[in-house]
Point group: C2
Chain length 419, copies 2
């Protein structure tokens, strides 16, 4: 069977895809319908056990590495470097059923479809489920793939503590997923991740597929403004050093910065705390969190630099002291153009429109791109809702995404890159 005929004939079994998504979602489902499988909890263990049972049903060779990543290998015709299909099955505290789980389960369904049709791919295929992508309880997020790609020391990751002082390594042992394989032992020839968009672009444009060609850089800053507390009824406006007024200017600046720099620059202030926070006291202190994103590193640096200039001028103008602390910094990632083209071609063979796009959110693919060619397939999430029980993707789009994944993996396998 050649690649052309495979592309014509094969398609995934949507009944298994949907029922498996549902079976995983039922674990620790909350009264409001949300999924709660926070990494390293008992519910995460139950999800992992279910995933491993599916892998074993498919006769995959299951490996668990030292950070708890689960890798299921399906052997190919040659002893080539594998193609890896990855994502995660952990969720936020009130998550939906698709974020992460969709990519892992669709990966299994790709292998299931090949087996059902007696097709052995040229290269080995690995389905990877990375530990703690969400970073809810232990930070940083995308931890499993970051350690896998060598971006975070294993020991540091295992020593992470949650708010109660519980150590990640202990929890990993407790749930039975402290594996023995070395992290990053398998370096794939290509990494591909299927995910819901978690943004509104595909949904609003009515396009069923996205070929993700890059991922924004992220810069998180904490800005602390020190003013002077004063009585709101007795302190003349001219005598104030009002931390809230300075904070308002930072918030407004964030929006102006994004608008001035063009559509690819995003800027968000999602958190503000005033001290003492009383109606009749001019605030002494304001602490803001600023999220800057841009797909181009030079532009992200430009935004950061304009912020520094603005804060310096503001400090002088408002007579306040301003401190800035970097909370997180990930450079933008450019995905592999060949994989992106392969994804586009696969959509084309199905006669479906696809749009090149930038991922606004972080994904495991971002970390894997450090060690191998990588790219992502997006399907629409209705109105961009995610991290929410209302997260939803139309079933036809879920099926379509999995079929594009199937065809892309087959095409990559036949291309035999990195041999």
């Amino acid at each position: 069977m050649d690649a052309a005929s495979l592309e014509r004939d094969l398609s995934i079994d949507e009944a298994w895809l949907f029922s498996s998504l549902e079976e995983l979602a039922r674990i620790n489902r909350q009264p409001d319908g949300s999924c709660r499988r926070v990494a390293l909890t008992d519910a995460d263990r139950s999800g992992r056990d279910l995933l491993v049972s599916w892998m074993r049903e498919l006769d995959l060779e299951v490996r668990v590495d030292q950070i708890g990543n689960i890798l299921g290998t399906h052997q190919g015709r040659c002893a080539a470097k594998p193609i890896m299909i990855g994502s995660h099955i952990d969720t936020v505290s009130t998550g939906g059923s698709l974020d992460g789980a969709y990519g892992v389960i669709a990966g299994l369904e790709v292998i299931r479809t090949l087996k059902r049709h007696g097709v052995t791919p040229r290269c080995p295929l690995v389905v990877a489920s990375f530990t703690n992508e969400e970073g809810v309880r232990f930070q940083p997020d995308m931890m499993g793939s970051l350690v896998y790609a060598g971006g975070l020391d294993l020991r540091t990751a295992l020593h992470s503590e949650d708010r109660d002082g519980t150590v990640l390594g202990d929890e990993l042992k407790r749930i039975g997923y402290a594996g023995e394989c070395r992290c990053g032992a398998l370096v794939p020839q290509a990494y591909i991740e299927l995910h819901i968009e978690q943004g509104p672009i595909l949904s609003r444009e009515g396009i069923p597929l996205g070929a993700v060609e890059n991922l924004q850089g992220i810069s998180w800053q904490q800005i602390t403004i020190h003013g002077e507390a004063n009585h709101a009824g007795t302190t003349p406006m001219s005598a104030r050093k009002d931390a809230a007024q300075a904070a308002a200017k930072v918030i407004s600046f964030a929006q102006e910065l994004a608008l001035r720099m063009g559509a690819s620059q995003l800027a968000t202030v999602g958190s503000v705390h005033l001290d003492p926070g009383l109606i009749n006291v001019v605030p002494r202190k304001a602490v803001l969190a600023l999220d800057l994103r841009n797909p181009l590193e030079a532009h992200l640096q430009e935004a950061e630099s304009r912020l520094v200039d603005f804060l310096e001028a503001l400090s002088v103008k408002d007579g306040v002291l301003i401190e800035k602390k970097q909370l997180a910094r990930y450079p933008p990632v450019t995905f592999d153009p060949e994989i992106v083209r392969t994804i586009e071609m696969s959509a084309g063979t199905l006669g479906k429109p696809i749009r090149r796009m930038t991922s606004g959110a972080g994904h495991d693919a971002q970390m894997m791109a450090r060690i191998c060619p990588a790219a992502m397939i997006f399907v629409p999430s209705v109105e961009g809702v995610s991290h929410n029980p209302a997260e939803h993707t139309e079933p036809e789009h879920l099926t379509l995404g999995a079929n594009v994944l199937l065809r892309s993996v087959l095409a990559l396998s036949e291309q035999g890159r990195g041999q």
Copy 2:
């Protein structure tokens, strides 16, 4: 002894003033030096007991009314309407030793000085200590004087509950200060209150005395902005309904409003809460507290009206829903010009400069002005610090303020208004 010779000869005993302030401050003093005699607590009872013991030492006729106000009467030569010297002895949770207590203790010292010199004033003098001026545990603030002046129903006040559901009337009984006298039974011919400024004007201008001719109107508003929560990394700036951005515009508007309306308009945003308050989520909701003050009712209404216009325009422009709730509203108070002039003249007989001024903070005098001619004397508080253990007034200013109070009371008594 005529009024002129009294003015030349009498002066208060600063040793008693200072030691009494210190004795009261020691009750439940905190490790950081702050005073904590929150109204209706055991510490408040101890403070009240001490005050009553001082009143009895002075042979005052002590009455406690139904809201717990304590009134000590010193009989005059005639059965005229009394002159009332009032303030409060409750404090905020981490207060200083002077706010309130200074005015009450100085009132006692005025009577003590008269007795020491064998001077009987023409009119009766009443020293009043009003219940719960600070409004920390039970709202509204200035409660005792508000009930006394008929601005709040006694029953409503007695039924106030704190956060734990404890009822004010029960606490008043528990501490032994649920009196039997009708609130407002004594309507004075004049009310005079000596207080630290709690603002920086006298301190910064180096003037030791203020004759308070009016008190600002206060309008407290809670502004709730409903936007739309979205992913900070995937939602284009143009597609956002960002409650924090709208909140920043309200904060900036508050300052612009005050600056446009001139020096007598104050506007403060002291409290902002964002929901969900996460760095990577465009806020769905912002709740702000806005404090507007102006000594002229028409101007305060103008500020409120401009706020309404601004919020309406903002709602349309930013695509957010905005709710506004009045949290408090006190109209400005104009104090009695004759009492103000009497205070100025008393300062003049001591050869001390005095400045007419507006009170930015609320005081019991504001409530008493509803039922009788009233005015206030201010002394500087260093840098305007108050509600803070660092609250401080130079001893010479404390002495001077009490002497101006003494001379003002004597002059008012001799004028014999309202007979």
